[in-house]
């Protein structure tokens, strides 16, 4: 469910006056929109020297807000929306992507990347690894990966499968199986980015990356996949603030209330199940509190957990930052130029 956070009079997040609460994430949406629009014009035109932008629209809140901001900044005729479904995409993704593109009056294309993913071996490699965990896994089965043990224990992953008859089973994944499933599914984000750059090159446009601050900070992206872009307009905004901007920009209510999902696996999978461990509104506050050096006690009261649990949330944020540092790094040179 979307947050109740709304736009306020302040442009930047405020320091807490008393106890920490969700109001620290209030932003002045009109001012924020103006700021991002001005920067987009400058970056696309002057820094990147491109004539517009490509935005891959998933039907989720982040890409929808990026498309709306780009249309407002550059003009809708300078934005190409791409809808790139594959075999495991929810039917809702394409429907909602169309809804956003048509709502904004954007030129858009729907390109099914399923056949290309088949040809490159995405599903075959993935299913082969899944059969090592569940030998019966095959056609008609659905699956997802969920995070486990994040609070207090060491993080590991479970494979959840549903048979054609509807029976659900789960099993801890070994290292090799987990790495192979993730590597195979990463084809999806990387192939999408290949298509985004094809259209960007064809039109002399730039490619938009759509992470919010939580995703960017915590490395929730595929290197050279959705992590690759020329400009990332909302990487400084907490997810809660992205929802506020969506309402300010007048995006359809169905978009503004959508639950964040990965839309990568065939079973429905929330982002909190796969990566973050806490719902986004609590993760936002935890990240904000850590960035502002607040104690675990202060965070605990704000998100309704014990101080020990809040301390573990801090530890998890720091751990993910360390583990995903390499995702942000450019290729390393062994000698200075």
């Amino acid at each position: 469910m979307a947050s109740d956070i709304t736009c306020s009079e302040s442009l930047t997040a405020r320091a807490p006056e008393k106890a920490l609460d969700a109001s620290v994430l209030d932003i002045d949406c009109a001012a924020e929109t103006a700021l991002i629009s001005a920067r987009l014009v400058e970056i696309v035109g002057r820094v990147l020297r491109r004539r517009g932008v490509v935005v891959a629209v998933s039907g989720g809140i982040d890409s929808s807000v990026c498309a709306a901001l780009a249309a407002r900044a550059l003009g809708r005729e300078r934005v190409l929306a791409l809808l790139l479904p594959e075999h495991d995409s929810s039917k809702d993704s394409t429907r909602l992507g169309r809804l956003v593109a048509e709502h904004l009056g954007l030129d858009y294309r729907v390109e099914d990347i399923g056949p290309a993913l088949e040809a490159i071996g995405c599903y075959r490699w993935r299913d082969e690894a899944m059969r090592r965990v569940f030998p019966a896994y095959g056609a008609g089965w659905r699956s997802k990966i969920v995070i486990a043990g994040a609070q207090g224990g060491l993080t590991y992953f479970k494979l959840v499968v549903q048979s054609p008859s509807g029976e659900t089973r789960e099993e801890r994944m070994g290292a090799q199986e987990y790495f192979q499933v993730v590597a195979a599914t990463n084809f999806k984000q990387r192939l999408r980015k290949t298509l985004e750059y094809f259209h960007a090159d064809r039109l002399n446009y730039a490619v938009t990356g759509t992470p919010n601050r939580l995703e960017y900070d915590q490395g929730f992206f595929v290197k050279n996949g959705d992590g690759s872009a020329d400009v990332k307009p909302i990487a400084h905004l907490y997810k809660t603030q992205v929802y506020a901007l969506a309402r300010h920009l007048g995006l359809p209510a169905e978009i503004c209330s959508a639950r964040p999902t990965t839309d990568t696996y065939s079973l429905p999978q929330g982002q909190d199940e796969f990566y973050f461990g806490l719902p986004y509104d609590k993760m936002d506050l935890a990240l904000w509190a850590l960035n502002h050096e607040l104690s675990a006690e202060a965070l605990a009261g704000a998100i309704g957990v014990t101080p020990a649990q809040a301390e573990r949330a801090y530890a998890d944020i720091r751990s993910k930052r360390r583990a995903t540092t390499y995702l942000h790094l450019a290729p390393q040179l062994v000698a200075p130029l």
Binding site: G149, G153, L154, Y156, A175
Partner: protein, 95 residues
């Protein structure tokens, strides 16, 4: 058959795991400075993906299955922790 002395078994386990960490995570670099009670994650020796590899290694080499409730830092985030954990695990398997 005579029981293995606990202290000797733990030292052997720690030496073997230390060698694995050097070879697998540090490309053969010397890990002499890694103390037995150092946190692997705290020292940036192993990250969360590395933990999965470490568990797979322990399961394969020692013929055990690490249970979900055993996946805690006390058991797996230091050489001492692994030494204690494996010895308990192996002893309970023999019993």
């Amino acid at each position: 058959m005579e029981a293995i002395k606990p202290q000797i078994a733990q030292e052997a386990i720690k030496a073997q795991v230390r060698q694995y960490i050097s070879a697998n995570f540090l490309m053969g670099a010397n890990v002499a400075e890694l103390r037995d009670d150092d946190s692997f994650m705290g020292q940036n020796v192993i990250d969360s993906a590395g933990v999965l590899e470490l568990i797979a290694y322990l399961e394969q080499i020692y013929g055990i299955e690490v249970d979900e409730d055993e996946m805690i830092p006390d058991n797996l985030d230091s050489l001492n922790g692994i030494g204690h954990y494996l010895q308990r695990k192996l002893n309970s398997a023999r019993a």
